[in-house]
Symmetry: C2
Subunit: 301 residues, 2 copies
């Protein structure tokens, strides 16, 4: 791996405001670059493994990074020389890329039906899948307003507000703990997903409070995720490894104060109205079949 590849990897590791699907698309380029980096079959195959492992460790909650690395490594295992490696891995990358884009488009079409005309829609944190669903609905002339909150400490809720605002949507913005004040004005709420397995949905911290409040207020809450977000039950809990520096929350706390900065949390399936995937809207009990299908490359075990 050369310096520019290392830089792209560290940008992904330190990216606190992009959604999982978005980072997977950027990771595809890293794998592509590596395929062309050398003529040495063994060296390239080892680099692909190393990239897959590093991407997974850098954002352990983000399932598409795992699933992307997983398909790359299974494809690489079938190659016997550098040409085969390039062909097979490139096919896998292209397949994963179109899967991500097709998923987003199908999810957007399903989400369109879930937005009542003229509604106030709540959107939490930042998810490229949610953004594409909202922009798709607006481009089809459905009019609605979006409420979003800061999403401390990385403030990716502001990134969402900026993006929707520049696309001409009407946005209402407030701080995270004001969810209880704005949700009663909303007809539906959407959130992104970092990974899914039988225990539930992992997403940005704050999603648990959002789901609890939506349940209390009888507001339908949908999680939007392609099946590239599915992982095994074992892998699901690696999101808990993703403790960030406390200084990102508070740069100068008093000496005796410990500052916690966890990124992700688990939301139980029964708390959401449905998981909107490219296969339709799934309920908790339908997840099992998908999770059973996930095969994990030995490199991730």
């Amino acid at each position: 791996m050369d310096v520019s590849q290392e830089l792209m990897m560290s940008e992904i590791a330190n990216d606190l405001t992009s959604g999982a699907a978005e980072l997977a698309l950027r990771s595809i380029n890293i794998f592509r670059n590596e395929l062309a980096a050398s003529e040495d079959f063994v060296l390239v195959r080892e680099s692909l493994q190393s990239i897959a492992q590093k991407l997974f460790k850098s954002q352990p909650a983000m399932a598409p990074l795992f699933n992307l690395g997983n398909v790359v490594l299974f494809a690489a295992d079938k190659a016997n020389n550098i040409e085969q490696l390039r062909t097979l891995v490139d096919e896998a990358l292209t397949g994963f890329e179109s899967r991500l884009c097709d998923s987003a488009a199908k999810i957007a079409d399903t989400a369109y039906e879930l937005i009542p005309p003229g509604a106030m829609v709540f959107a939490y944190s930042f998810s490229s899948t949610v953004v594409s669903a909202l922009l798709n609905a607006r481009s089809k002339k459905k009019f609605f307003r979006v409420v979003c909150t800061e999403s401390r400490p990385s403030e990716e809720g502001r990134k969402l507000a900026n993006m929707l605002d520049s696309a001409g949507l009407e946005v209402v913005h407030t701080f995270d703990s004001a969810m209880g004040l704005v949700l009663p004005t909303c007809s539906v709420a959407f959130m992104g997903v970092d990974c899914v397995a039988r225990p539930g949905i992992v997403n940005k911290v704050g999603s648990w409070l959002l789901a609890l409040a939506c349940r209390e207020l009888n507001i339908p809450l949908y999680a939007l995720a392609g099946t590239e977000k599915f992982v095994t039950d074992d892998l699901l809990f690696s999101f808990e490894d993703h403790e960030r520096p406390g200084s990102e929350v508070w740069s100068d706390p008093p000496a005796g104060t410990k500052v916690l900065n966890r990124q992700f949390e688990l939301i139980p399936f029964p708390w959401i109205s449905g998981l909107v995937t490219e296969q339709g809207i799934l309920k908790g009990e339908q997840i099992e079949a998908y999770v059973d299908e996930v095969e994990v490359h030995r490199v991730f075990e």
Copy 2:
């Protein structure tokens, strides 16, 4: 009113991090200064009225500012000359001041019993009543840790962390939406109160989510407030007038984005375990008798 009095008033109006009881203590000095400001009976009486009205309007959710002005004006009504005015109002101020201090001390003694030894205690926003309860418990050699969150946008949760930390308490701090992650580690939660009447308890935004989460997780949540926080049901809803500038939440939002900055919200009585007052721990149904006693001076109607 002279310039220094005006300055003290505007400091109270713009104080977003002090609790209601703390601001009432500072307001007592403003009334005291005014009593000495002139020998003109009518002029001083009118100034007292004007101060009472302005303090109430500057922080309409903070009941002690209303109740202080209320007792001052009822006392002033009984005076026929400047000497009587000074004597009667000074008595009223001294009475209110000792009521505030006695309340805090009695509440602290009751709260002491509610903290299990070695427990993790959640404390939300900033309340001088909660601080005095926690410091009193520590001074009596009860050991426990306190978790608090930022309390965006004014971040008075950091003020709380600083104060408890400098008093030698172990503090854990995180962002507001991480409540769902830290509450399961807590044995009890405390919050302050801005005002109370039959509809419920008004406190800093975020308290509704806290109460919802505590109910879900079976964590006892106590609101700490002396009866100087009681108002009439009519006055209770004036907290909704306290909309602050959106720029305090986000200084440079995109042009089409409306930024909401509400300060206070209502928490229903059944969601809390009890209201800890100087009269003991009250339940919702016991509030009625106190609210019925509140007599409102015509100036506030």
